[in-house]
């Protein structure tokens, strides 16, 4: 059995295991066991990947497996991973694990919640291992549908509205995407034996320039909606604000990365000519995303809205860097995906924990939490410092790689846009420090808050795991950068 298929199989078995569960304890046991198995497998995969590379296997994708799925359209269940997918799988495993801890006491319908969450993780894992565009989109849709129910049923605030909006906008995006992918599919061969296989297209069937020109915008937009590309980002603030903690974590931490990863695998890999020629349009849009999200975050009062706009800004940077189409910037883009995934999951976990205690996310009603819940407050400061790019934490290495890489672009236009994107580091500092100063520092505003308690063990476990990852990446970025870089050999 191929190790990669296990990442789809284990969650599927978990789904079955949930069915007989009657008590919340059993549900937790299954969820935690599954998440632990996945993280062990992800680490094993990383180890095996290195072993294989050291053994001299220089193939672009390792652990490949191919099975015909639907003969007449030549759809395959084709899987394989490179360094980038390995890291994304690792990220997913970490966030699913911490998300499980963060929803330890979730009520009601705990079983159903975890089943949908597991369903979502099947989609995400499947997406990251797929090499066949059709299978990829198939898993992508699997990941989207549970989102509707997770937000609509377990959310807060205007949950039905947000769930509907999020699903419709992402579905709209995938409509563009489908058209783009079919466009590519029908251009793969003049004789009629078309293929969806990414590697095959990239190596043997270069797409015709004219087709590239109309499919690139469709694919980039389609995935861009998920990556919160301006002006298609508006699902993000509402969606995140309404979603329950673990869903926000998983959504912002992993699902939004599907957008960047898809652009990377399909738009940039298969349509390089159009990517070079049309990138300026999207550079402008992503440049706007980066600054617009940051400025938008300053004016918000809801913690989740602040973080959602901040995600627009940070994910905008991912797409921005991908479009630069050089080795360094793209390495930075993947690092930013990892970094943002960890950071934002940490943020949403902490916001969820604070909300669970104070029952408000409005920064005007919070204050002086540092005295009341020092653990959560210190963790929030660390998350904030990571987000504003403190050296030694993950944000810094990712952003710097992007900035240095983007600035190597030979055209002045791109370099000027890089400078504009860099200016976001100042704006980020403003909204992060605004929140830290308002809710953590200062005097306690609400007398009732004085009786609140600090984090309990499972919350601490989630937070410490994420902080360890953020700090680990920030202190030892070399191996991650190399792992990503070695998977980008096809870019000069």
């Amino acid at each position: 059995m191929n190790i990669l298929s296990l990442f789809v199989l284990v969650p599927t078995l978990m789904l079955l295991a949930f069915i007989p569960c009657r008590e919340i304890k059993q549900v937790r046991t299954v969820a935690l066991t599954g998440a632990l198995i996945n993280i062990v497998m992800a680490l094993a995969l990383l180890f095996l990947f290195y072993a294989e590379r050291n053994a001299g296997n220089t193939a672009e994708m390792l652990f490949t497996y191919d099975a015909v799925w639907y003969q007449s359209l030549n759809i395959h269940y084709a899987i394989g991973v490179d360094g980038i997918s390995v890291l994304m799988i690792l990220l997913t495993a970490v966030i699913v694990l911490t998300g499980t801890f963060a929803s330890w006491n979730l009520q009601p319908l705990t079983k159903d919640f975890f089943m949908w969450l597991t369903m979502l993780s099947i989609g995400v894992y499947g997406f990251f291992i797929s090499l066949d565009m059709f299978t990829m989109v198939f898993f992508y849709e699997i990941a989207l549908i549970p989102m509707y129910l997770l937000i609509g049923l377990w959310g807060t605030g205007r949950k039905e509205y947000s769930a509907m909006k999020l699903t419709l906008m992402l579905m709209g995006g995938s409509a563009f995407l489908m058209v783009g992918i079919f466009g590519i599919y029908y251009a793969t061969s003049p004789t009629g034996d078309f293929t969806f296989n990414i590697l095959e297209i990239a190596h043997n069937h270069p797409i015709d320039g004219a087709v590239q020109h109309w499919t690139f915008p469709l694919v980039f937009l389609g995935f861009g909606v998920l990556g919160a590309l301006f002006p298609f980002h508006t699902w993000s603030p509402d969606g995140h604000a309404s979603a329950p903690t673990a869903v926000s974590m998983l959504h912002a931490g992993v699902l939004m990365k599907l957008g960047g990863y898809g652009c990377f695998r399909i738009a940039m890999r298969l349509l390089p000519e159009a990517a070079t020629e049309l990138s300026w349009i999207f550079i402008i849009l992503t440049g706007i995303s980066v600054l617009y999200g940051a400025f938008g975050a300053i004016a918000q009062n809801d913690l989740k809205y602040i973080n959602a706009y901040s995600s627009v800004s940070h994910c905008g940077l991912v797409l921005f860097a991908i479009l630069m189409a050089n080795h360094t910037a793209m390495t930075g883009a993947v690092m930013q995906m990892l970094s943002h995934g960890l950071m934002t999951a940490l943020f949403f976990a902490l916001i969820g924990m604070i909300y669970g205690r104070t029952h408000t996310r409005d920064i005007r009603e919070l204050g002086g939490l540092m005295k009341i819940m020092p653990f959560l407050a210190v963790a929030y400061v660390i998350a904030g410092l990571a987000s504003l790019g403190l050296p030694g934490l993950s944000g810094f290495v990712a952003e710097m790689t992007i900035f240095v890489g983007a600035f190597q672009h030979s055209e002045l236009f791109y370099r000027i846009f890089t400078i504009i994107a860099i200016s976001s580091i100042v704006v980020t500092a403003v909204y992060i420090l605004k929140v830290v100063g308002k809710i953590l520092y200062g005097p306690v505003i609400n007398e009732h808050h004085k009786e609140l308690t600090d984090a309990v063990w499972y919350e601490k476990l989630a937070v410490i795991t994420l902080i360890a990852c953020v700090a680990g990446m920030g202190l030892f970025p070399g191996w991650i950068s190399n792992l990503i870089g070695s998977s980008l050999a096809y870019i000069h």
């Binding site: 508006t234 360094t328 005295k371 710097m400 100042v426 950068s481």
Partner: protein, 645 residues
């Protein structure tokens, strides 16, 4: 080089102790954390002195008679491209060795002093963890082997400063000050980062060794490159200098420093007086060969920024009543001296007098300014207030503080034989021979410095009035007075260090003489300043009020720091927040999101409108069918009729 292997510990110790105290501090007794931090600092102070001794006197000058730069160790931390990578390492040359000595000495004094000053404070362990973090960051900054390492530690220094200013995090003013300090310096760092990127885009390297080699070929690639009519290299060096403007609190980015006094006083002494704020000076000194050979016009700008800031800050300092604010503006003014001095320097031998003088002043200033702040801390501790009005006549209660404070005041005023005289005199001499306008700024500034420092001194220790203290002020405890005495000795005697033999532009020692004319002028103006302060403030008189009446506009302006804070507040609150952020947030909700929602609405409305088509009513279907048939028939007939005709 093997000789210096132990120097690595200077970086490792504070880093390790930061982690230990930071993670496990809450399980320690406060005194344990404090002692651990102090021991670690003592060890690295000794190591720093050994390093300096070995560097200057054992290894000494090389074959060409110049001190050599030594790359003690370095390793690649993060690779961007084949040529651009961040290395972490340790680079010893005269100025970084000098900085090691300065930072460790002042930091050790602050560690010892804080054992007494911070006793009983909540968060004592946290305070010592932050001090270790700060020491680590600052040491890492000065020994950086490349400009990106410098940027990394530059940011870390900024964060340590943020953490220490917001130490009393329950106080809203401390929180506001910490935010301001971080955001203002972040804004400047943005320019610094862009400058680094532009510089490295052309030179393809971050490495100081390559960048600062005289006649380095890497600058050839800048030939002809210009942007908006100014050469790109000038842009880059200007942008990099902007980073220094932010950290060193030069105009117009000085606004954060006076507010930074919200932190604990010993931390102010360490960060906002002696070490962090000289980072900008150090940055210019580090890149000095590029400034002087490639972009002399930027160096001129640097000189003028310094000159104007020095006199501006000196004027403001004369009017402030919070003693820490007086010291803060005095710091801005003195750092500006160092910056100006670099701006008027040339290269090689006596031409490079300004460079040497700048480093010399950095050295002496660190001691006397730390002493002033620690002395101020002892006074604040005794009278529980920062305001001058709460003080007066303290000389009989606090003899040690008084005498050491007096030494520091004499040193900063430039009275021989105290240390400040020697370094300031070299700066004035360098300016005198280079640019008379800048000399005038610095010269007037020197008079004002003497005046406001002795205004401070007389107001605190003399100024006999009928003040009654709630409880008699008493001298501080030994852990606080010992650092005062040590720093007092440094302030008195560090002027005798033969700097021109150690730190020069090209590494080769030269003979520096005291210029009798300049020395005479500077002593004269200092004495006048002290004399005026003596007349006005030794006893309570009505002279100050009369003078204020006469120059009310100037006094009010200076008292309000020439409204720079208000200007910045206007820009951030009224323009960035109210005119950019809020409109963007509204635009996003109303238009962008509104558009998406209206898409959904239109879809919905369309389907509502057309759903009636499938009503299931046979009559309606029949009607539509007949209507369609009729239209087809008419169209058909019409086209046939046209064909026939």
């Amino acid at each position: 080089m093997d000789t210096f292997n132990y120097s690595i510990l200077i970086l490792l110790f504070p880093a390790i102790f930061f982690i230990i105290i930071g993670l496990f501090g809450k399980y320690m007794k406060p005194i344990v954390a404090g002692t651990l931090g102090t021991i670690s600092l003592s060890v690295i102070t000794i190591l720093a002195y050994i390093t300096a001794y070995q560097y200057f006197f054992v290894v000494g000058t090389g074959a060409d008679g110049a001190y050599q730069a030594i790359n003690v160790f370095h390793f690649e931390w993060l690779r961007f491209t084949d040529t651009l990578h961040i290395d972490l390492g340790m680079y010893l040359d005269p100025i970084s060795t000098l900085m090691l000595v300065v930072i460790t000495t002042v930091s050790l004094m602050v560690h010892i002093y804080s054992l007494g000053y911070m006793k009983g404070e909540i968060g004592f362990q946290r305070y010592y963890a932050f001090l270790s973090l700060f020491s680590f960051s600052m040491l890492g900054l000065v020994v950086a082997t490349n400009i990106f390492q410098m940027y990394i530690f530059w940011e870390l220094v900024g964060v340590s400063s943020f953490l220490l200013i917001s130490f009393y995090y329950v106080k809203p003013s401390a929180v506001a000050a910490s935010k301001k300090a971080f955001i203002v310096t972040r804004f400047a760092d943005f320019f610094f980062l862009v400058g680094i990127l532009v510089l490295s885009f052309y030179t393809k390297t971050f490495d100081f060794e390559v960048l600062t080699t005289v006649g380095s070929p890497v600058f050839a690639s800048f030939a002809g490159a210009s942007f908006l009519g100014i050469s790109v290299l000038s842009w880059a060096m200007m942008l990099i200098f902007m980073g220094g403007v932010g950290k060193s609190a030069m105009m117009p980015f000085h606004i954060w420093l006076p507010d930074a006094m919200e932190g604990p006083t010993p931390a102010s002494a360490l960060i906002h007086a002696a070490t962090m704020v000289v980072a900008g000076v150090f940055l210019v000194a580090r890149l000095f060969p590029i400034y002087v050979f490639q972009t002399p016009e930027v160096l001129t700008i640097i000189g003028y920024v310094g000159g104007i800031t020095s006199i501006f800050a000196a004027v403001v300092a004369c009017t402030q009543t919070d003693i820490k604010r007086v010291l803060a503006f005095s710091t801005i003014s003195q750092i500006a001296y160092m910056i100006t001095s670099l701006g008027v320097s040339g290269w090689g031998g006596h031409e490079g007098l300004g460079y040497m003088a700048s480093m010399f002043h950095l050295f002496t200033h660190a001691f006397f300014k730390a002493l002033l702040f620690l002395g101020a801390g002892a006074i604040i501790h005794a009278v529980h207030s920062n305001e001058m009005d709460a003080m007066g006549g303290l000389k009989k209660y606090m003899p040690i503080s008084r005498w050491t404070f007096l030494i520091a005041c004499l040193a900063i005023a430039g009275i021989p034989p105290f240390s400040g005289f020697f370094s300031k005199d070299e700066i004035l001499a360098a300016a005198f021979h280079h640019d008379l306008f800048l000399f005038a700024c610095l010269f007037i500034g020197a008079g004002l410095t003497a005046f406001y420092m002795f205004r401070l001194y007389f107001r605190i220790f003399h100024y006999e009035n009928d003040k009654v203290y709630h409880h008699t002020p008493h001298e501080a405890e030994p852990s606080m007075t010992i650092p005062l005495i040590v720093l007092g000795a440094f302030s008195a005697f560090s002027g005798f260090v033969p700097f021109s033999k150690l730190i020069t532009t090209d590494g080769k020692p030269f003979e520096a003489h005291i210029d009798p004319l300049v020395a005479g002028l500077s002593i004269g103006v200092a004495v006048i300043g002290i004399a005026i302060a003596f007349v006005m403030y030794r006893k309570k008189t009505s002279i100050p009020d009369q003078i204020v009446e006469k120059i009310k506009w100037l006094y009010t302006g200076a008292y309000h720091k020439f409204y720079f804070d208000e200007l910045w507040l206007f820009v951030t609150r009224k323009i960035i927040f109210a005119r950019i952020s809020i409109p963007i947030a509204r635009f996003d909700r109303r238009f962008v999101d509104g558009f998406m929602n209206s898409l959904a609405y239109v879809t919905n409305a369309t389907s509502e409108a057309i759903k009636g088509f499938q009503s299931g009513r046979i009559q309606q279907y029949a009607f539509v069918y007949l209507l369609g048939a009729l239209i087809l028939i008419i169209g058909f007939t019409f086209s046939i009729w046209q064909l026939i005709c």
